[in-house]
Symmetry: C2
Subunit: 197 residues, 2 copies
């Protein structure tokens, strides 16, 4: 793409604006900065890599914000630098493999979050186990109940981790099995017959 063509485009189309806004919201909902989603989306929808300046212009951000957001996106591995012949600037392109992106984020963020929760529940469980040895019936009963309830939280957290791991290993190799499983049993009261995978 020539300079002439590249510098021409300084505004987002309606569709680009709408999609980057939606992705920005989803991503924010999901715990990232909205601009991460917007920048990624603009790159994702662009036929060629864009410079920081392009992004600053189309999204009306300061150069600092663009720089910081891009480096954050790079850390998450969802955007990469692209070298362009004879250009001095850096150009950026979006990771286009959605599964890869998602599994990377899941495995780095969600997973560590849940793992630390599991550890904490286990520790708390150990504490109430000790209290259960207490002799006053009041305290014993309380510890009993708490043991059970913290146990449930722990189970739930472990289930969450299992789900995540299944998703990850699935995504890593081949998204098909899980996808087919889900699509094969669409949202009906899907709980009785469980067709073998």
């Amino acid at each position: 793409m020539t300079d002439a063509v590249r510098t021409k485009k300084r505004e987002l189309s309606v569709a680009e604006a709408a999609v980057s806004d939606v992705v920005g919201r989803l991503i924010e909902f999901w715990g990232f900065k909205r601009n991460m989603g917007r920048i990624w989306t603009v790159l994702y929808l662009s036929p060629d890599a864009l410079s920081a300046e392009d992004l600053r212009d189309v999204l009306k951000l300061s150069s600092g914000a663009v720089s910081m957001t891009l480096s954050e996106l790079s850390r998450w591995g969802v955007v990469r630098k692209v070298w362009i012949q004879g250009e001095r600037k850096d150009f950026y392109a979006a990771e286009v493999d959605l599964w890869r992106m998602i599994s990377r984020v899941f495995s780095e963020r969600e997973r560590s979050e849940i793992i630390s929760a599991i550890r904490a529940f286990e520790e708390a469980l150990a504490v109430v186990e000790k209290q259960r040895a207490s002799s006053e019936p009041e305290a014993r009963a309380r510890a009993e109940l708490q043991r059970e309830r913290i146990g449930h939280l722990l189970e739930l957290a472990k289930l969450g981790k299992t789900l995540l791991d299944a998703l990850l290993s699935t995504a890593k190799l081949d998204a098909e099995p899980l996808v087919r499983f889900l699509l094969g049993r669409p949202a009906r009261s899907a709980s009785e017959p469980l067709p073998p995978s």
Copy 2:
């Protein structure tokens, strides 16, 4: 429980503090206020329903914050008022069915979020479809690419919705099938044998 006993307890045990902190963090990570998680957890770990005052004291919150947080928790259906004989105050108890809680939150929050994303992607797709009729090759090529990429986002969002729906219908009746499916094909990286139900 007598007043004497109830008014005695004005501090959280180590385990209670730790667990409510962890749940608070998880819940915050997940997009709610930290205090929602903390209050719910204190109630969940309490053998009896607690008053707003109890919560204010043990968590060191203002009465306003407690009132607002409790009403928010009630709206989410994860806490309920309990009438206690001869007491003038309201007492609150946590919903203890974790699956029920989760499926309610998923269906009200995540689902509407994803549904609106799906709609937006579909609209954007329609827009680029129109642009694709454009005669300039440049613009056509761009529209072509965007159609494909927005299509992928749409697919992903739909897959997410399907997953959510499966989880929901599963949770509603019986968590077992999905759980068994997942456990039957555990993530290779996952460590150990999984707990029976």
